[in-house]
Each structure stands twice: as structure tokens, then as C-alpha cells.
């Protein structure tokens, strides 16, 4: 068994062994990274390929882009997602648009790693889930794994991809254990994983909320309600076909995510399905539109929990 963060370490290690053009830059990466996801990289790959940087997010992001434009394949480590807000011009106006603006002359082949989500009561500036923003941003791939094997396989795919890939590390699941193959094969973007089969309803989720969703599905099943549970794994491209097929089968779709419900990616999924499947019943379960509070009981009160997912499922089934 391997932890999710170790699986990510092994995946990046494998790719840096495989391709000398791959390198990593970010704060403290030469010391192994904030979560140990680069432990041992400095000794193995040296300071030119494992670059501990100043606290200069604009250039961490923008230098990764520039280095990609001359043929290297950087892994841009942003430490914690919230700090990406300090590098949005480089990400949104430059990385996402450069290939298109230049008519295909340039292809920024890079990965931006952004450990995100609720985590150990770290409050409003260290817990944001804004993955939905980037599904609305042309020019980027959005990946959000939930298991060690998926995290490893999707990171390998991200590093090998010629497109800019935004990789949302689920930091709250870094300790999650699972099997990881000794040779990590890439996992195709846009392929959902079915975690459970069922007929009563379809539940779609991803990233750090998956354990809560599976827990909810299990207790629903104990009461004879079987949910088909889909883990999207990547949000752009997303596996619309799998979601539509399942929703048609069950007739009911619940999308649950860690992010704020209003304007979250659940809205896009529900909208697509509602457009395509007449008479489908749809529901969402996300956070209220408030920043994440520090105090544990307050955080617990607004976080999406198995109980809230179960309640949403029951409301949906009652319709």
C-alpha cells in the first residue's frame, strides 16, 4: 500500500527519470516540498532540475511558461492552491492563451500542481476550492484525482501531455493508502471511474469529496438505495458520455463537490444533463457561499459531509 502523496512522488520521479526535459520549480522543492512530494529529488536530479525558488509566484508560474516555450517540460509547484491567486496573469492571460494567440506556434507543455481544498482547519486563505473557474477558462486541462493510483496515472499523463495541465492535488487525501503499480501508466483525461453500481440514482463527484460520497453511498445501500457512483477524475475534459448514460439509466442525478455550490462545476454537469435528458431529476450538494471558517465546529457545519449527501439524495429520491 502506498499513500497518495507518495504515489505522486513516485509518478514525478518516474517521469523525471524518463525524460531529461522534465524539471520542477517551486518554493522549498529542493527540500522535498511542503508535503514531501519531492523527497529525494534534489540528490537524484540535481539543483538545475529541482529548483527551490524565492516566494515569487508570478515568476514561478511565468518562468515555467517561458521554459516550456524553449522546449523543457516544467512541473510548476504552487505549494498551496490559494497562492495561485498571486500568479493569475501568468496562468490566465499567458499560459492558457499563448498557443491560441500565436496561432499554434507555441505549445506550453507544462503541469501546474496546486494542492487544494479543505485541510486541517487552515481557514479561508489556505482551503479554497476554485477548480470550477478553470473549467470555464479556455486553453487548460483540469485534473482532480481522488486515489493514489489515479493520482499517479493522471500525473504521468499530465507530464506527458503537450497541453497545459492544471493538476489539483487533493491535499486532504495525501495520507490515503492504495495500490500503485511499479510502472505507472498514464490515465487518459476525460474518463470517469465507476466506484459503485446502482439503480436508484447517480452520484457524480471527484477529488477530496470521494470518500464522503462512498461513505454516503454505503449507508444508503444499507437501506436498499443503490447509487451509481462516478468519480470524474478530470473536470476538463470531463466524461459527459458516462454521466449521461448513467443518469439516463437511473433517472436521477446528484452532483456533490467540496466547492461552494453556487457556480461550482456541479452547475455545469447538471445543466448539461438537464439540457440533454428531458424529465431527468437533478440535485447538487456543495458548500454554502461563505469563506471557510477556522473554528472546527464552524468548518464542520458548512463542509459537505456524508450526512448532507445522504439528505440530498433522499430529497432527490422523494421528488
Amino acid at each position: 500500500m502506498t499513500s497518495l502523496v507518495e504515489a505522486l512522488r513516485l509518478a514525478a520521479w518516474q517521469e523525471m527519470e524518463r525524460d531529461p526535459r522534465v524539471w520542477v520549480l517551486g518554493e522549498d522543492v529542493a527540500r522535498g516540498g511542503l508535503f514531501g512530494q519531492y523527497r529525494g529529488f534534489l540528490d537524484r536530479f540535481g539543483p538545475d532540475r529541482v529548483v527551490s525558488t524565492p516566494i515569487s509566484e508570478s515568476v514561478i508560474m511565468g518562468a515555467g511558461l517561458g521554459a516550456a516555450l524553449v522546449g523543457t517540460r516544467p512541473i510548476i509547484e504552487m505549494r498551496i492552491f490559494d497562492f495561485v491567486m498571486c500568479a493569475m496573469d501568468e496562468l490566465v492571460n499567458q499560459i492558457a492563451k499563448i498557443r491560441y494567440m500565436f496561432g499554434g506556434q507555441a505549445r506550453p507543455s507544462l503541469v501546474v500542481r496546486m494542492p487544494h481544498g479543505n485541510w486541517r482547519n487552515s481557514a479561508a486563505q489556505h482551503s479554497q476550492v476554485l477548480e470550477a473557474w478553470f473549467t470555464h477558462l479556455p486553453g487548460v486541462v483540469v485534473v482532480a484525482p481522488s486515489t493514489p493510483a489515479d493520482a499517479a496515472g493522471l500525473l504521468v499523463a499530465a507530464i506527458r501531455s503537450d497541453d497545459p495541465v492544471l493538476f489539483f492535488d487533493p491535499k486532504n487525501l495525501f495520507g490515503l493508502e492504495g495500490e500503485v503499480p511499479s510502472v505507472i501508466e498514464p490515465i487518459a483525461f476525460g474518463t470517469a471511474a465507476r466506484r459503485r453500481s446502482g439503480t436508484s440514482l447517480t452520484i457524480v463527484s471527484w477529488s477530496a469529496l470521494m470518500p464522503a460520497v462512498e461513505e454516503a453511498a454505503a449507508s444508503l445501500e444499507a437501506r436498499g438505495i443503490t447509487a451509481e457512483v462516478l468519480d470524474l477524475r478530470s473536470l476538463w475534459p470531463w466524461d459527459e458520455a458516462a454521466v449521461l448514460a448513467s443518469a439516463k439509466r437511473t433517472g436521477r442525478l446528484l452532483v456533490a463537490h467540496e466547492a461552494v455550490q453556487a457556480g461550482g462545476f456541479g452547475a455545469e454537469i447538471v445543466a448539461r444533463v438537464a439540457e440533454a435528458v428531458p424529465r431527468i431529476r437533478v440535485a447538487r450538494c456543495g458548500m454554502p457561499r461563505v469563506p471557510l471558517p477556522f473554528s472546527p465546529p464552524l468548518e464542520e457545519a458548512i463542509k459537505v459531509t456524508p450526512a448532507k449527501i445522504i439528505a440530498a439524495a433522499e430529497r432527490l429520491l422523494a421528488q
Binding site: 527551490s52 481557514a123 473554528s295
Partner: protein
């Protein structure tokens, strides 16, 4: 030292002791699992917070960073409210919604710690601009670390403050480290003072572990800033005794480096001087330390027993009244 300011000297000592005691109490409480979330303490850096803030008026404003307990305490923030905030309780200054990284006490002009490095710089600059616009003579003081001088807002903020001659004092608490990386390994050129001068902000460098040096420099700079001379920057050299967070052993630092730094720590150093110059006896000073420790132990006990926030507050303070 003239006896006339003996009270001020004792106040500096007491402020440092209270910060030290608060931080050690918080560390112990965090290790005991009483405080959730990340915790950054400022043990060893007390001379900067005390030396700067005791030269400010209550209506002066400060912005701080992730390592902000000392700044808040020295500026006069209530201890009970601070400790309860760290514990996430209802009586915290932020009602438990902020925690250690977002300590704020607007009633004493403490406009907030910040979870984003350099995040307090634009805010302090704007506060100074607002105060000037309102015709008030209070000033803004902006605390940040050596790590913040590599972020863009440092340049934008200093240029801006100089341009509009704003009443703001920038204080770079230079403990020569940022998280797990030495400042020297990520900072090119001669450093923060030269950067500051190049942006039109006169800079002064002092030994931040000598609270009297910090006190004297701040007194002069605050007078200049309040007098309308425009912004100033103070670089205070100091040392972070602990790891970056309460859970970081900082094992990568050489033991003798840490030992040497602890030997020069600001409180003992200042006490030796106070005794030598007959301002206070060792016994008096020990009593101050004991009193501070008792105060913080009491605050910890209260916080532990204090009620959690009403769950309804999780939904308030977003939009509307």
C-alpha cells in the same frame, strides 16, 4: 540610560516577556492538541514587535503577516481574545473564524495578520493613504518578513508609498529564513535596504535582538513619518528560534547556529542591561516573567473552557448586515 524613561524600558521588557510567554503557551497548547490549524510563533523575535509597537499610538494602524501574535500583543490586542481565537472559540477577536493566521483586533488598530506572504503590504499602504485623505495624523506600520521582499507587492507598495509621501513605516523582520529556505539562497543583490532606497524609501537597519536599538530607530522613524516626511523602512535583523510552524523541527539548521542565536536572544540580553544599569533587579525581572507566564497560562485555561461559536455565525459576516 536616563531614569526618566525607566517606565518605558520596563514596558519594553514586559511586552517582550508577554510575547514570549504567549508563544510558548500557544506552542504547548498546539502540541497538546488544544489549538487546531497551523501555528507560527515568533520566539526570539520579540524585540522587533515590542520595540516598534511601543512607539505607536492606539490610533496608529498595523498590518502583520502569518507570524503575527507578537505584533498584535505589542499593539495592545487583548490576550483573552487572542488565545480564544487560536482555540477557535466564540470569544476570539474574530469569533473563531480566523485563527492564528488571521488574528486581528481593530479596536487597537491591529488590521490583521495575513496568510499570504506580502499580503499586508498593499493594505498598509492603502490604510496610510486613507488616513491621509481623512486628514488624520495617525500612521500605518507594515510588518513583513525577509521572504516578502521577493514578491511583487513589495516593489509596488514601496514605490506607491514614496510617490504619494504616505505615512507608512515598513518593518522588515529579517530572520534570514523563509519557511525551509535561507534568505541568502533566494535573495539577489544587497538586500531589502538597498531595494527600499531604490524605490525612494529611506531605509535603516538595526539589530532586531537589541530592543533598545529597535526602540530608538522606531522613535525617530515614526516621528519622521508622522511629520509628513513620507514612508520609511526599518530592517530588523533577528532569528527564528523554532521551526517555521509548530510542527516543523527545522532539523536542517546546524545545532551550533541555533545555539548561538539563542545565546543572543533579546530578553536575556535586555535584562542583563537593565540590571547592569540599575533600572531593575534580577528578582523584579523574574517576577515580570512569572507574571506574564501566569497571565498566559490563565488565558489558555480560559480558552480551553470557553464556549465554541454559535453555528449560526458560520453563515454571518459574508454580505449584507
Amino acid at each position: 540610560m536616563p531614569q526618566t524613561n525607566a517606565a518605558h524600558l520596563r514596558a519594553l521588557h514586559r511586552s517582550m516577556c508577554r510575547i514570549r510567554a504567549f508563544e510558548e503557551t500557544a506552542l504547548a497548547a498546539h502540541k497538546a492538541g488544544e489549538i487546531p490549524g497551523p501555528l507560527h510563533v515568533s520566539i526570539g523575535q520579540e524585540g522587533v514587535a515590542a520595540g516598534v509597537c511601543l512607539n505607536l499610538r492606539r490610533d496608529d494602524r498595523i498590518t502583520s503577516n502569518h507570524r503575527g501574535h507578537g505584533h498584535a500583543l505589542a499593539k495592545g490586542a487583548g490576550v483573552a481574545g487572542m488565545m480564544e481565537e487560536l482555540f477557535g472559540r466564540a470569544g476570539g477577536h474574530c469569533g473563531g473564524k480566523g485563527g492564528s493566521m488571521h488574528i486581528a483586533d481593530f479596536s487597537v488598530g491591529m488590521l490583521g495578520a495575513n496568510g499570504v506572504v506580502a499580503g499586508g503590504i498593499p493594505i498598509a499602504v492603502g490604510a496610510a493613504q486613507g488616513l491621509k485623505l481623512l486628514g488624520q495624523d495617525s500612521i500605518a506600520v507594515c510588518f513583513f518578513g525577509d521572504g516578502a521582499i521577493n514578491r511583487g507587492p513589495f516593489l509596488e507598495g514601496l514605490n506607491w508609498a514614496a510617490l504619494y509621501r504616505l505615512p507608512v513605516l515598513f518593518v522588515c523582520e529579517d530572520n534570514q529564513v523563509a519557511a525551509f529556505t535561507r534568505a541568502q539562497d533566494v535573495t539577489a543583490g544587497p538586500g531589502v535596504a538597498a531595494r527600499s532606497e531604490s524605490l525612494g524609501v529611506p531605509a535603516t537597519t538595526v539589530d532586531g535582538n537589541d530592543v533598545l536599538a529597535v526602540d530608538a530607530a522606531t522613535a525617530r522613524l515614526v516621528a519622521e513619518v508622522r511629520g509628513g516626511a513620507g514612508p520609511r523602512l526599518l530592517q530588523a535583523m533577528t532569528y527564528r528560534h523554532t521551526g517555521h510552524t509548530s510542527t516543523d523541527p527545522a532539523a536542517w539548521r546546524a545545532a551550533d547556529e541555533v545555539a548561538a542565536a539563542k545565546a543572543g536572544e533579546p530578553i536575556a540580553r535586555f535584562e542583563a542591561r537593565l540590571v547592569a544599569e540599575g533600572i531593575a533587579t534580577a528578582a523584579e525581572l523574574a517576577a515580570v516573567r512569572a507574571e506574564a507566564e501566569a497571565e498566559m497560562a490563565q488565558a489558555r485555561q480560559n480558552a480551553l473552557a470557553a464556549p465554541w461559536p454559535d453555528l449560526a455565525t458560520a453563515y454571518s459576516d459574508v454580505l449584507g448586515s
